[in-house]
Subunit: 473 residues, 2 copies
């Protein structure tokens, strides 16, 4: 394909892209295909000769598109959103065209310096104090892994890196029973072991209990183990619980334990000053992550990872073969040493486009609107005689279940709500996901898609009620 052919196809694609964004509501939210449906329409072998782009694109629309779950649909209430926006897509077009690999300052100075600056903008927007330095990771999971690794090395004087975890004895990690599984996954990867992750009890708002944390740390110390890291959450995935940073941070400081804060989803709400109280105790935090790719209108992947001591992170991950030495080394930031991967896409551009195109005031308004919608939805649910909230609403996240009068068998309620969720998602009109709250099946409603308006939430609530009440017993 020569460049003029590219121009022609790209213009055609832009028209399709625009129409898609304008009309995404016409698609079922969750793909309605069965396992194997898409595969059955794909040839077993690659084509020997090139095919016209028109044919490839036709297959994209006829074969791929029906198998896509539309994350940008305004009735996407599942998981957490991965909300995008037109300025972000525009930036991705440029990023793909430049095709720069941004592992070193020299391999794209502007990408590095823009990343540093735009993450400092974001730090200011979220109310994180001076002294935090940012880097874009692919995901909060990777940031948690980096935190566990840096904590491991700081606690062992970099001996684990050198001699292996086998040389240093059991190292303990703490998180609440509500914390995202990424902490356990990170502990497995880092060679710490799942059983060295202690799940700390939570209070009635699902927040980590600092007294239980303190007791666990003391118990481990008494047993000769080394506490290395606490992963606290602002906004757990299940119910959006907020761990109290101040007492947790004080416990960490007392015992020399690394404090990482996973605010993957909820961090974006910190741009609203009314939620800044969540940061009380931030001075005790060693690292902090939140994902603009969840709730700040920036394409996946773009996870903002802040550290107080970049040298510790770099020392933990650094490897320097001859072919990566550049004359600027030591005078510039080489982000390759800040993450698990060596290669890096130019991800700062889309965040820059989004912040500039909307401006901070408008971003605040958009996030606040999602929270206001969730507040209304939670009120509707609480007021309905046959529905109940399963946890306090947290920002834009609501956990609920259908609970018709007279049905009090837990297993039956679980099964009923499971059937409700399947019926809703099978309708294609909205997409929700499930959770367990105190062991009981709950339905999660996460509001945060860029184009979600009141009418989408109203329609969802209407559909939820009518579907539930029509379910055969």
């Amino acid at each position: 394909m020569d460049t003029e052919e590219f121009r022609r196809h790209a213009h055609a694609f832009v028209d399709w892209m625009t129409d898609y964004l304008a009309e995404v509501e016409r698609y079922p939210v969750r793909a309605q295909v069965k396992p194997g449906d898409v595969a059955a329409r794909l040839p077993q072998t690659p084509p020997e000769r090139g095919e016209p782009m028109e044919k490839i694109f036709a297959d994209f629309t006829s074969v791929v598109l029906p198998g896509i779950t539309h994350w940008q649909h305004p009735s996407f209430f599942a998981y957490f959103p991965a909300n995008s926006s037109p300025p972000s897509v525009l930036a991705e077009m440029l990023t793909a065209t430049l095709g720069a690999q941004c592992m070193l300052w020299q391999t794209s100075p502007a990408a590095t310096e823009l990343e540093t600056r735009v993450l400092d903008w974001l730090r200011q927007m979220a109310g994180l104090p001076d002294g935090f330095t940012g880097v874009i990771q692919d995901s909060a999971s990777s940031a948690i892994l980096c935190a566990l690794l840096t904590a491991r090395e700081r606690a062992t004087g970099w001996r684990a890196n050198d001699e292996g975890v086998n040389a240093v004895g059991p190292l303990k990690v703490y998180c609440s029973t509500e914390t995202h599984s990424a902490t356990e996954k990170g502990a497995k990867i880092a060679g710490l072991g799942m059983r060295n992750v202690r799940k700390i009890a939570v209070d009635d708002r699902f927040a980590m209990r600092p007294d239980a944390l303190e007791a666990a740390i003391r118990e481990d110390l008494a047993a000769g183990a080394t506490p290395i890291c606490v992963v606290a959450s602002l906004g757990t995935t299940g119910v959006g619980a907020m761990d109290p940073l101040r007492p947790i941070g004080e416990a960490c400081r007392r015992h020399g334990v690394w404090l990482h804060v996973d605010a993957a989803w909820a961090g974006s709400a910190l741009i609203l000053s009314e939620h800044r109280g969540l940061l009380d105790g931030i001075e005790h935090v060693d690292s902090f992550v939140f994902n603009p790719h969840k709730w700040l209108f920036t394409n996946f992947d773009c996870s903002a990872h802040y550290v107080r001591d970049p040298d510790a992170l770099v020392r933990t991950l650094e490897i320097l073969p001859a072919f990566l030495k550049t004359r600027e080394r030591g005078h510039v930031t080489d982000y390759r040493d800040w993450s698990v991967q060596l290669g890096r896409r130019f991800r700062a551009l889309k965040l820059w486009f989004v912040i500039r195109s909307y401006g901070v005031a408008e971003l605040r308004r958009m996030v606040a609107a999602h929270i206001a919608l969730a507040r209304e939805a939670a009120e509707w649910i609480a007021a309905a005689p046959d529905f109940e909230l399963m946890a306090p609403r947290s920002l834009a996240l609501v956990n609920f279940r259908y609970h018709p009068a007279g049905l009090d068998d837990g297993a039956m309620l679980d099964r009923l709500n499971e059937r409700l969720l399947e019926a809703l998602n099978d309708s294609g009109e909205l997409y929700l996901t499930q959770n367990r709250v105190h062991g009981a099946y709950a339905i999660r409603l996460a509001i945060g898609q860029t184009t979600t308006r009141r009418r989408h939430v109203e329609a969802a609530w209407e559909k939820i009620q009518t579907t539930a009440r029509a379910l055969p017993a």
Copy 2:
């Protein structure tokens, strides 16, 4: 920005993108800015009010672009290429628009099923045998980490995952002295320890010596350590060395050691049947990775990771909280359990576009053309009285240095070539990187950019000679 504004801007961007691809030769290859130049032009604080896209785009061209190293420039001979192509960019436009997060089958069935199928196409193209199952990782570094983790767990009966590496004693990893630093980085991350990575001696073609490997494994066994993994390379980063898979694989089989093959760059050359001999012994290989984002015209990131036993990989990385359970689980592939990260972009689409748009025959021709150009360049260098090859050419990679008659002091030659490299890169006309071969400074010429033609290599060689000969002593 509403969708019609998006349409207008996106069309304008397409014209810029097309012109950029057509005229990229007009830019200096390596950015010519100094550290801090770009940052100095970026405001310290984010804008409160939104700015027009015209202004943002104007800053992109005036502030960002001068700080970009142009990886898609045909005179980019540095590192390894990250070669892209028009069909790949087209696919990235669609991927960004869909904004799908492909962690589970249900969150985008088509993305999952297309990934499985297109990686099987690629497996066939590269001549990998049946029985290898593919997954797209972000980079070969991540694939190496996955291999080390799976090897660690297989060797310890999944005890390291559960109890930590502290419970299982020293675990040994083997690679050659030429292997990419990603192996050491992976060993640090996995809690194995750098000093448990044994660097095996190489032969006169820089390939791992199987006899030295066998001796090292026996020595470690005798000392009570557990050998878990050998990382062999097809095409090392420095000189492109090819480790012999058959005798290495036989040693691995004898001792129950995992064999991972890192063919990050050279793997793409396997689509040419004349290089299939490199796969001799592939039946002993447990996992294999190569990067279509390096040399198969597909945007970074797209690393093709093949495993013989997906269950072992999944068992190693799996975590299953309630909110990620779907009714299809067990009947479909959920790629989230195949990689370090949970979230995943829809990366299969661009590979599908590239393979279909070019067809396998044309992809073969394009890769073969790069190799032919490198063969010529190596001949020119070898024939020049004041230049010398520092290692045998490997596929499209040439290591050389300037060595004028009468100058035989090693340190002076190193310094002379370092100055030569800096002068070349400062010219903006081409971009090369450095290496060390037997301790001596060498200049690497890697040919593989999509639009590189004979005239670019000729111009590079001319520039190299005139610059070298004009250097003050």
